[in-house]
Point group: none
Chain length 407, copies 2
């Protein structure tokens, strides 16, 4: 992937310094107003976030582009300063990252679902009645043991993800990833026959068709999970690390595998996860001497949003807020608080709404009128409204990590 | 340099008209709040600027890209509607522009510093104790007279800039500009040996090495300035003029050579400089009949910022404000007030903060709530937040100099 003009510019301007940036990411933080007219972030009692917003500068950022609802992959790539439209991360790779599967650069990965087929091979249930993770593990272990282990020289690896969801990895030479989904996204018709868009991908598709036939026989006696649907065939993107791009020495403090995997994808150091929110400051302290960029990921705001649980989202935000003073005691030069996307509780899913963001950097921000951290106060904030990929350069600038451009 | 899609569009939409645009540029105007919470621009008593802001529309502009601190070259290219990332202007060319040196398209130019070397040829002082400009002139005259005038068919031209700083221009056929700096930016080691990144640049480097050796002998008896360090080898960018790009007939009213040089680079007419700020309206009057775009440059706001002198920055702004009514008496159709970058007095250097901007155009602006001209009022302004390269098209539009795009 050649560097864009802008990427090349930021790279050439970047420099190492002993200033430290904390990037605190609330997954799915952005929301819509509830019955009282306030969002969860605006409703929560957040003295520390409000202090940071008041002393710092606020703004709104579009994770991918206006109107685009991001998945977790693109949202985080935007946070890390990458243009998510230039570096697509597909479902297969994300599934691998999400279970800490050590993907190799030439592997082709895809998500699969167990499904229920009728006697004529038509799909009755695309999720096999949402079987339990235990049942998934039993089935996956059967398949992994009894499928022909190597087909046309291609090694087949299957892993449980959760409930009806799994990961398939095809490992071999010259495999293409441009294979269509076999999941038609509707019921009443048979799975789609896999085919590849080019010669290398057709080699992959041939293996996928073989797998489909063998799975049909091996699971014939199952009542619910007697078939399998694939989607999101994909390979790891070629992606320069944050150290190559802007000379950062980044570290990831995240509990969930997918975010740890995304951090690894951009070259972050990923130590063992903290056990809970209270353990985050100690995790930062351990890495403080050897890094200058600290990605802290909080998952539970997104989970609450997806569950439609407005009150729980408030509670999570308040819990994180209580942890912030201890984080500030470490003496960061720049603190950024932002999100990978919005997950409004009323919508119960990711959305396209821009993410509320604050940047705190004593003596170096042009302060704005925001006295608290919330979607509305961010609207008039001094950071303005940009694509999310520009947030990292702004943090670098405030941390003194970007030289002057031109004389 | 091929035209970008956007450049081609603006070009095809541009038309000549007898409306006039005044572009009043305060160098380094943007700032950070002082102890009272207000910036110099917000503190200054500026009845005229406030009237323009109140009747017009305000906004904030990022000179290059979010987080990027621009040098004077990129900042001004942005003001003139060019993407500074597409048209880099190096240190050597800026040095030539800065002393009104008539650079030819094939010349290779670089900045040089006189330096102090110890008896083993290691750098003791990269600035030769900041020798006086007079001493620089004496040394440069010695070198210009006694260096071999033409080396390998290449003419060598040396000029004093100021203190320890000078300009070197190499004039000849087929010279490349991709030559490394010989200034290692540290002391205790010898200067770096010049080398070129391609064949043409290696021809340049060979001449630079010869110059280095001869300078060593010619200055051997000097106590302080007994060596020379080069950086920023460069050629003039190929750049279409404002007349080619958008059919303007632009003129420059600026006191300082560098800004006059930048204006010349984009094809502006550059008459003799005004003697002081009060002389600006008269200078405009002289050119009023023959031009439609008037670039007025005020240097002293930047100087005050670099000196950390908050009070003097205020005084400069107030002085310019008093000149504005006489400027308005000329009857411009559009007045833009902006800056090439911010130079916060507290940071004493250029910064990445967006520049406060107003656009006044009676009957043609959609007014906003701004009642005065300042960083904070601009934050909520109707011009919004854009890259600086879009300010010129906005001025053209208000001046009726852009046709409808499409039917």
């Amino acid at each position: 992937m050649p560097w864009s003009r802008e990427e090349a510019a930021y790279r050439s301007l970047s420099l190492q310094s002993d200033t430290r940036i904390v990037f605190l990411v609330f997954d799915g933080l952005g929301d819509l107003p509830g019955p009282e007219g306030l969002t969860p972030l605006e409703t929560a009692r957040t003295p520390s976030l409000d202090r940071l917003a008041s002393e710092g500068v606020c703004g709104l950022f579009d994770p991918v582009a206006p109107g685009v609802t991001p998945g977790s992959g693109p949202g985080h790539l935007g946070l890390f300063g990458y243009d998510p439209l230039r570096f697509p991360v597909g479902r297969g790779v994300l599934a691998a990252l999400g279970i800490d599967f050590p993907l190799q650069p030439t592997d082709v990965a895809a998500r699969f679902n167990y499904c229920t087929l009728d006697k004529d091979g038509r799909i009755l249930d695309r999720r096999a009645g949402r079987i339990s993770t235990d049942e998934n593990q039993r089935l996956t272990s059967v398949l992994q043991n009894r499928l022909t282990p190597t087909m046309d020289g291609v090694e087949v690896l299957l892993r449980t993800v959760s409930e009806h969801r799994g990961l398939i990895v095809l490992r071999g030479r010259d495999l293409g990833e441009r294979v269509c989904d076999t999941d038609p996204q509707v019921t009443g018709i048979p799975p789609i026959e896999a085919h590849g868009e080019d010669e290398a991908s057709e080699r992959t598709a041939a293996v996928v068709r073989q797998i489909g036939r063998q799975v049909g026989k091996l699971l014939a006696a199952e009542k619910r999970a007697n078939g399998i649907l694939f989607r999101g065939f994909d390979r790891q993107p070629e992606i320069a690390s944050l150290s190559e791009r802007v000379q950062l020495r980044p570290v990831c403090v995240a509990q969930y595998p997918m975010y740890r995997g995304l951090a690894r994808l951009v070259g972050m150091h990923v130590p063992p996860p903290p056990q809970n929110l209270e353990a985050i400051p100690q995790a930062l302290r351990t890495e403080w001497g050897s890094h200058d960029f600290f990605f802290v990921h909080v998952k539970y705001t997104d989970k609450a949003g997806e569950d439609g649980d407005f009150a729980r989202k408030i509670a999570v935000i308040e819990e994180v807020d209580r942890m912030i003073p201890e984080m500030l005691d470490l003496g960061p030069d720049v603190v950024v608080v932002s999100a990978d996307h919005s997950t409004p509780a009323s919508l119960r899913t990711h959305s396209w709404h821009p993410v509320p963001t604050l940047l705190w950097s004593p003596g170096r921000v042009r302060r704005d009128a925001a006295k608290s951290f919330g979607e509305t106060s961010c609207l008039g904030g001094g950071l303005g409204r940009h694509r999310l990929m520009y947030l990292l350069p702004l943090a670098l600038a405030h941390a003194g990590k970007l030289k002057k451009y031109g004389a």
